[in-house]
Each structure stands twice: as C-alpha cells, then as structure tokens.
Symmetry: C2
Subunit: 156 residues, 2 copies
C-alpha cells in the first residue's frame, strides 16, 4: 500500500472541512496508508513580512518531512492535471516505492525555499483556493484516482 502524507500548515478550523476530510479519509483507509500532519502556523503581526512568516512555517514543514519522501508541493503556479492524468501520474509515483508527501501551505502559501526543494509542483486549479479547501479537494482527487485505477464507477 502506498504511503501518503499530507503535510500542512495549521489545523483545519472549519467544521465542514474537517467532516469532509474524515469522509474521504474513511474511504481511502483500505486503499492507502494515509496520514495527515500539520505544523504550527505563524500568527500575523509583530511586523513580520509574509516572506518571513512563510519561511518560519517552511522550516517546520521541512523538519517534519517523512524520510526518503517524494515531495509534491501544492502551488497555483504548478502543473495542472485532469483527473485521469492525475490518476496515471499517481500510478507512476507509486512505482518509485518511496513515501509520497504532499505539502500544503498556510494563508501565505509555501516559501520559495520549500517550493525549490520539492520534487514537483502541482496545481489543483488556477483559482486560489483556501488552504483548507485545497486539503479537501486533494483528498477527494486521491480517492477518485483510486476508483479510476480500480475501475470502479464513482458516484458521490
């Protein structure tokens, strides 16, 4: 079973997003070794620039990275996929036999350093999604990718 980590900045605050994440985590449980981990987010204020805030968060992300991970940063400037392409891409990444880590930034996104250190950058949409919504869409697409790989019809 492929080992997938969603490594994120900040807890999930909105109740409906938490419920949605639970919904897809339950469905993915028999299919993937999935874990969701979050690092502490920086509070605004104290005169720190968004760049500084992002890089502090970035250091925390890098400290929590599962060893030997293939790292995929979620970034609106990254590569866009159709769902079928995403499923095929995921199949290829599985063949690497390495843990797969998806990085999702906080309010300010991911630092340049984290983006540069990632193996790949993936965009869920050209739209700027809230970082909580991005978590939900990523899990939904992971689930959808597995249903495609298994040839299941998907009717949620």
């Amino acid at each position: 079973m492929v080992d997938i980590t969603l490594l994120m900045v900040g807890k999930t605050r909105e109740g409906f997003i938490r419920e949605g994440l639970d919904f897809y985590q339950k469905r993915l449980k028999p299919l993937v070794q999935l874990s969701l981990k979050s690092v502490r987010e920086e509070k605004e204020g104290g005169g720190l620039t968004p760049e500084t805030l992002k890089s502090k968060e970035g250091e925390r992300l890098q400290a929590q990275m599962p060893p030997r991970s293939w790292v995929v940063a979620l970034d609106p400037q990254g590569r866009e996929f159709t769902t079928e392409e995403f499923a095929a891409w995921l199949g290829q990444r599985e063949e690497l036999s390495r843990p797969l880590t998806f990085l999702i930034g906080g309010h300010w996104g991911l630092s340049d350093r984290v983006l540069a250190a990632a193996d790949e950058r993936l965009a869920l949409s050209r739209l700027t999604l809230t970082h909580e919504m991005a978590r939900l869409i990523l899990l939904e697409q992971l689930y959808r990718a597995w249903t495609i790989k298994m040839g299941h019809p998907y009717h949620v």
Copy 2:
C-alpha cells in the same frame, strides 16, 4: 445588488457539503441576491444512455432558467480563471444588469444543448470535481471575489 442563481441538477446529499454551502451563503447574504435551485436528477438504469439522461436533466434546467439571465455553464472544458481574473470578470458581468445564472450539471455533466445555449463556459479546475464539490468551490470563489472587490483581506 447583483442577482445570482446557482441552478443545479440534484439535491446536495453530503452533509459536509451542505454545511459548507450554508457557511458561504451566510457570508454572501449581505453582498449578493443569491439563490440555489435544483432540478430533479435522472436515475440511472432503464437502459437510458448518459446522453439521454443529460438531455432530460437539461430540459428541466432550461425550464427553470430565470428570465433574461446571463448564463454561465460550469464545464471542465471551459475557460479557466485565476481568482483575480474571476473577480474582474464578475465585475464586468454585473455591469450587464442582468441576472447571472450558473449551471452545474449532475453525475453526467451538462448536455450539449445546454452547453451550446449558455453565454459562457467556465472551468473551476481541469480536474473533474464531483458536482457537489463544484457547488462548494463556486460559492467560495464568489465570496472570495467579493472580498477582493471590497478590498477586504480574506482569512478563512
């Protein structure tokens, strides 16, 4: 206040999506005259092809279209926007002084006839989203567009 209708196929079944829609509807209430309407979806089976199912649903959508609407069909093959482009586009559409109707299909998407009759086609992502998730993202982006237009910081 601009008059916006989300005209959809099928009720929203998932609890977390319903809660998310409520969340954004409350926030949009002081900003937009928003209504969510859904038409009955076709049940699979009975030997009907997806094309037939979609066109039956499409007839129902067309019967419920608010008069004089500017019609925007959600379609993964449509035009993609960044959030800033979406906000600017929405500002231009407001100047038409016509009700704005967004069409969201069901499991099978929108029929060719409905797509051809629409004034524009909009893609939220190249990914195929569930039709329920598309509702949530559209409302979230409408809310985000208004916060951009009003110059508010957006921190959800």
